[in-house]
Symmetry: C2
Subunit: 102 residues, 2 copies
């Protein structure tokens, strides 16, 4: 199961590290405890929407950009789904062969 | 302040309604209570990552797609930021004029 908080935490940590800032600096700017921010970054805590906004503001990063990054990393992590195109004849037989072979 | 849960709730509600399904149907498929799903859709409850995944699965909607939609609606809701380009001369005077005129 793909968990949002894990991908969100990674994106926030990456942004902070790219800025060369410490947990201490960002947690102070966001007015959250250092331990809390650390747990959020490690995907161990679900941040409330209010605290997520505060962290984004402390990172000077629009929430929309964080979410776009998270959407991309979630997309990579999601299981690929096999879609069978066509409902008869060659296409469905070919698809059946693929499924049988798997 | 832009709140993730409000935009997330709207996206989930929109997806459910586009499928012509009721709160009762989706909550049963996701194994969450009807009241809980209703609160999530109205942006009154922060869904845990596990329950968000369950709701997405019940809607047969990849989490990545939900997040992409949410990123776009958050982008529209975010306050536009005026960035002053240039630190002196014509550019900064022009920027100052814009700020003064606002």
């Amino acid at each position: 199961m793909v968990l949002l908080r894990a991908h969100l935490g990674e994106a926030l940590r990456r942004a902070r590290q790219e800025q060369g800032r410490t947990l201490r600096q960002v947690s102070a700017d966001a007015a959250v405890s250092l331990g809390y921010l650390s747990e959020v970054e490690r995907g161990q805590k679900e941040p409330s929407s209010e605290l997520l906004s505060a962290i984004c503001m402390a990172l000077d990063l629009p929430l929309s950009r964080v979410l776009t990054e998270v959407a991309q990393s979630v997309l990579v992590a999601e299981p690929t789904r096999l879609t069978v195109v066509g409902v008869g004849g060659v296409a469905s037989n070919a698809a059946k062969d693929i499924v049988d072979a798997a």
